[in-house]
Each structure stands twice: as C-alpha cells, then as structure tokens.
Symmetry: C2
Subunit: 447 residues, 2 copies
Amino acid sequence: MTSRSSAPDAAAAASFDHENAAAAFHDLFSRLSACGATPGGGVTRLCGTPEDGAARAILADFLREAGATLRTDAVGNQFGLFRLAGAADAPVVMLGSHLDSQPRAGRFDGTYGVAAAAAIGAALMRARRAGAAFDADLCAVNWTNEEGARFRPSLLGSGVYAGHHDAETALGCRDDAGVALGEALAAIRALGSDAAPPLPACYLELHVEQGTILEEAGARIGLVTRNWGAAKIEVVFTGEQAHTGPTRMGRRRDALYAAALLITALRTVAEAWPDRVHTSVGRILVAPNSANVVPAETVLSVEVRADDDGLLSEATAWAERAIAAAAGEARVGVALRSRSRRPVRPLPAEVCDLAEACAEAESLHALRMDTVAGHDALSLLGLCPTGLIFVPSRDGIAHDEAEFTADADLEAGLRVALRAATRLCRAGGSPVRALHDAADPSRGATR
Amino acid sequence: MTSRSSAPDAAAAASFDHENAAAAFHDLFSRLSACGATPGGGVTRLCGTPEDGAARAILADFLREAGATLRTDAVGNQFGLFRLAGAADAPVVMLGSHLDSQPRAGRFDGTYGVAAAAAIGAALMRARRAGAAFDADLCAVNWTNEEGARFRPSLLGSGVYAGHHDAETALGCRDDAGVALGEALAAIRALGSDAAPPLPACYLELHVEQGTILEEAGARIGLVTRNWGAAKIEVVFTGEQAHTGPTRMGRRRDALYAAALLITALRTVAEAWPDRVHTSVGRILVAPNSANVVPAETVLSVEVRADDDGLLSEATAWAERAIAAAAGEARVGVALRSRSRRPVRPLPAEVCDLAEACAEAESLHALRMDTVAGHDALSLLGLCPTGLIFVPSRDGIAHDEAEFTADADLEAGLRVALRAATRLCRAGGSPVRALHDAADPSRGATR
C-alpha cells in the first residue's frame, strides 16, 4: 500500500499535458528526420554513419535540456534517465526504439518511438517540476543497429542489453566494406563507457505498424499480443568461376543460378500457407559479379516468418530442403553461415491491458494484433514486462521512402504512451499496479 | 612481282629465331603476370586500375627497348610500331590482344596475345637488324578494356579503333562507382593523344581457347573460322521497396524475385539447344540489398550466345519473352537498358589457311573451330583480313585463377604466330601473298 500524494490530481493533469508533449515530439522528430534525409522524403541513416551520429547528437541535446542524465553504453545504446521518483534505487520505466534506418527508408520507423520516448520523458519531468509525484524513473532509449542493414544481426544493441549477445562480439560485426561496428561507432563518437541501466520494471515501445491491419480495421492503436516466429539463414553457394561464353552449360557450376532456384522455391514455401508464412531474400552478394563470368559465390539472406512455431519449423525445413536442392541442381557447394530462430511468443497481457485502458481513456479504437516484424521490444521480452504499441502505416508501406503516418495517428500513439508512462511511473513501474490504480481513482502515487 | 631479297634465307632463319622469341616472351609474360597477381595464381587487373597501369608501363618499356615507336591513342590503346620495311607508307601487320582482366581471373587471357605480339615484333626487329628484308611493318597492340568487367561494353578499345564506338562515348562509360573510363585512364597516365595507326593489312591475335575442344581433340593449335553470335541485354526490373516481415506476399513487388524467375528461365532456353545455345547472367545489381527489405530494383546482364544467327534470334526472342513473363509474375516494371547483338560471321579463309600452313611447317596438329567468346579480333573483322589462333586451356577453365596453359602450348602458338607474322611482313601484309610466297620458296621479300 502506497502513501497518498499531496496533489495527485494536479500531478496527473500536468503529466497528461498532451499539447506540450506533441509540440516537443514534432519538433524533435522533424530535426531527427533531417539527418540523412533523402530527396524522396525518407531517410538513409545507416548505423554508425555520420547521419546516425548527427541524429544521436540531436537526441542527446534534447534529453539533456529536458533534464535527463545521459548514459551511453559500450555498444552505443543511448539512455536518457529522467529522475522522477527522487530515490536512487527507484524502479525504471523504459521507453524507446532506434534511430538507425534501412537505405532509402521511411523517417517514421524507429525514430517515432525514440522521439516519443524523449518527449514523454520531458513531459513527465515538467510534471514533476510542477509538483507531480512519481515512484518510478523514466528512461528514454535509442538502441544501436536495430535494422541489421549495415551490420548483422538486427536488434543488436537491445540484444546486447538483454544479454543475448556480448558487447565484444557485437562490436566486431563487420559491414560489407569490412568496417567493424566498433570502428564505425568510434568514428562518430557514439561509443560510451557508461554502465547500461538495470533492467526496467516495464519496457514500452511505440512503433509504426508497417502493415495494413490497423488501416483496414479503421483502428488508431495496435496492441501487440504476440510476435511471429522468424528463422534467418545466411546461405553461401560456392560454384566455379568460368567464362560465360565457351564454358558448356553442363559444366557450369553457377552460384547465381543456385540462388535463383532457391529464391523461386522460397516463394512456393510462402504460397503454401497464405498469410501465415512469409519468406524472402532481401540481400544477395555475388562474386565476382562480372558480365562475362559465371558467378563463383553467392551469399543470400534468407528469411522465413510464420505465425506458429510448428509452422515455422515446417516451413523452415522446406526452405532448407530447397537450399540443398538448389545446390544440387546447380552443382555448387552450399554452407549455412549463420542461422537464428525467433520463436512465436506472447507479449505480457498486463502491459497490453494497460495500453488498452489508456487507449480507451483517450477514446481511441484499439486492436489486438501480431507483430510480424522484429522490434527491440522483442529483445527484452521475457526479461521484464514488455509492451509494443502500433500506429497505422499508410498502405502498410515500410522500409521505403513512401512510408507515412499522419500527424493525428502519431499523436494518438503519443497520447496512449504518455498516459501509460504516467500511470506506470506513478505505480512503481508495475503494469498490474498501474491498471489497478487507474481503476481506483482514490489511489495516488507515492511521493 | 616483288624484287628478290639479297639474303632471303638468312633473313628467314633470323626471323624464325624461336628460342630468343620464346625467352623474351616468357620474361615479359612473367613480369606482366606480376601486375595484380592474386594468391591463387591468377590476376585481378581491371581496366584503368593501378595494376593495369603497371602492366602498361612494363609493355611500353619492352616495346621501346625492342626498337618500337610507341603510340597511345585517345582511349588508351597502346601501339608499338616496329619499322621493318623502311618505307614511311609501308603496310602494317598488327598483332595483339589486351592486358585487362576479369576479377580473380587467369593470367593468360589477353596477356598471352600481347606478350607474344611484343616478343614477335622484337624478334622481327632483330632479324631486320641482322639483315632480313621485310616489306611490311609490324605493330604490337594492347587494346583497352576488352573484358567489359569494370566498364561496359567489352571490346571497347578495339571497337573505337574499328569505328564501332566514338572515343568520347567510350571515355564516358562509367564503372559501378561512377568513375568514367577517361578518368580512370587519366589517373594511371594511360590516356594518349597519338593518332591510332591506320587499319592494318592483316590483324592476327593469339589467345587461349577458354574451352576444351583442342584438349579433347589432342590438338595444339586452334584456327578460328567463325564466331558464335551473341546477344547482350541489360535488364532493369523495378519493384517496390517494402518490409520483408509484415508486407503480405501478394502485395510484394520484388525485383529480386523477378530476377530469379528470369535466371531460371534462361537456363531452360539454353537447355532447349544443347551445345548450340549458351545463356547466362553473370552480373546483378540489387537495390537496396538489405536483409529486411524487399528489393526495389535489380539490374541484370543477360547473355545469349548461339552458333547460328537464326537460332540466336529464336533464343533471344524466347529470352525476351522470359524477361516479360518474369516481370509480370513478380508484378514489377521492366526496361531493357541496352541491347547489342553480334552476328555469326566467318573469319577470312586466307588468314586461316596461312596459319594452318605455318602450323604444318611447325609440325603442329591444328584444328579449325568456332570461337564462342568475343575477342578484339572480332572488332576488326570485315575491316581487314583477320585471324584468331587458339592454344589449349587446361580443362577449358577461363575467367578464373585456375586458368592454365602449358609452356609447350604457349610456345607452339608463339611459333605459329612468329612464322605467320614473318611471312606476312615479307609479303606486304597480304595473307594471300604470304601463302603463295611460302608455296614457292624461290620467292623472297622485297627489301
């Protein structure tokens, strides 16, 4: 049982200052969007590039000015800690996402969640300065290399924080030019030596949906209850360099032909389970990649995603048979250089319930749904109560400059997250208590 | 009727100085092989790179020291003119090939023909100094960018010389990094301002076979009587960048999937006419080429080769239907950025007959055959009598570090070419006269 705040209603009112929070969000978001802006209205802001460095600096300045203490850990994750509770050992509510992007991508992916987290931290700090009482701190975070575009794997910074990778291994990941993540981050002064904060009492992430479910349902808020499983395989086909002219077809050991056989076979795998299995090859490296030379080596990034673990296993097994069959047909060698599997897992119901209650309080139509894409929230899943809140993406367009979410939708998500963060920070970071306290308006926060 | 030489037999003996020629060839060839040498025993000597520059400098030094006058034209073709005939307007016999290579390629392709030409020029110059009489000059040539690896199209330098391209267009061709051929050649000081010599009375090229026909027949010398036709098409598929996770399969417009459909279909085209049609895609550019992004654009270098013009048309039409079908199936746009067609053509019988006579004189088993690959000789075909002489490639390996031709085979080709060049330079460059003169030993060269 907590003691009652001296002015809980005033505090609540101040912390729900949506207009100020929205203004701060839009200002920060538009300044971040300028880093790596493309002529087509998107961004190219690959991890560890000067554009990433510029965005990190803008975020750091914002956080500091808003009253946060900044910490940067050994893999460049940026944490802005807003001391709201007044106690050194107060629990922490963490909100965030990532500032890195895919090449020629949209400006909302990741950046939306980071800018919203920073704006929410600033709003709660203002509320605290105006007399509101909290019993948890808020930490806004920007995770390093979520996209896996320049450095693989994806979700790298949050994965290190969650203990799935060690920092040294992560810093040793190299891009296609041979530059290590550690070198790239050092070059933009994004490497830190601060200890990362301990695991939060609750982690929340706001993100654009990147699909059409919300749009088709006419809903403003997506409450993620589950993630699709995903298997990622890096396949290496090793053929034999040869002349494309005189070399007889039957003698060729063409690594690109093997790749083509695999890519078409993978489509068949997805087509066997419509809307339940997605497959893709988004990336292929070809050597020597010269017009008159039979390719000697191809490296493919294969993905299989499914809405069920058994199905994921079945589809992945099919994909692996297709890999072997393609190698056999093209008479090339094959190796699986790396394999990872993300199982289907539910997100904790209590965080979802809290977000739903907050959406209801904002009179916003919310929909429970899956996430097919990976997000940093999934790195923390199982380690702490974790919530993932979506807003609509026009036409479902993602990883493309044409990605778009309307201001009204951005603000709807911001309002839900602001309300959820406020309640969490007044309930010691516990989503169960935050739900319970809201259900009983007589219960305030500790001072 | 030509006047008789004062010492035709001595001259002939001196010019057929195989041992000296072979020693000079091996020395030059091994120095050239060091330029861009790879650990696997091959070379990476792409056009316009410092490695190309180093090889060009070695060649120029050799030619100058051997008594040639050096000329470098506006696209970097290097000509070493050996003044053998003594008259300013003497006809010219031209021998050569190219020093550029594919990535991680063999050291024989092209370099063999250049080093042999230079060594033959040096041998004939020595013969002249020893009193031999010639009535044609000899020009050794290194053609720029034969391979089409860094800059496309292939056969670029010889194509400019033959008038198929203008120099300005050629110099404006850009590599994948956006560097123009002219800039690359300027950077290695390989651009010249000399006028190219006029069309020769006869052009001869020595080359490794890059196939297995000679090896299988147990022949040392290939006499090329005809080239296969070739159609080259640069295909651009334009899809839509999207997230590989949530984007529904049916909504994807995947440019790499289109490419895969085309690559597999092209194989079917070749399989319809075994050993008469070859197809390939050796080069593909993918954008944005990121693991989590549905590819928005692919650019493919498609080749169709056939031993008959009608067949080439039929196979190319099928390939073009496959291009359209792949675009339709993958729901992407398609454009053919460039198309070229090299028809099937015979090489002049008189040059072939002369080379055959020379092989016979050397007691070498020669075989008449097609060339499937393009060579600089084909650029000059139709403009002057043109000959192409092959020596065996072990296992037919080409465009690969494992490419190999034994010294005995290199020297066999060198002997045939030295004999043919000597006879041509004693017969005013005319292959018909060279054949006729040889048939009648009493006929010598003009002085």
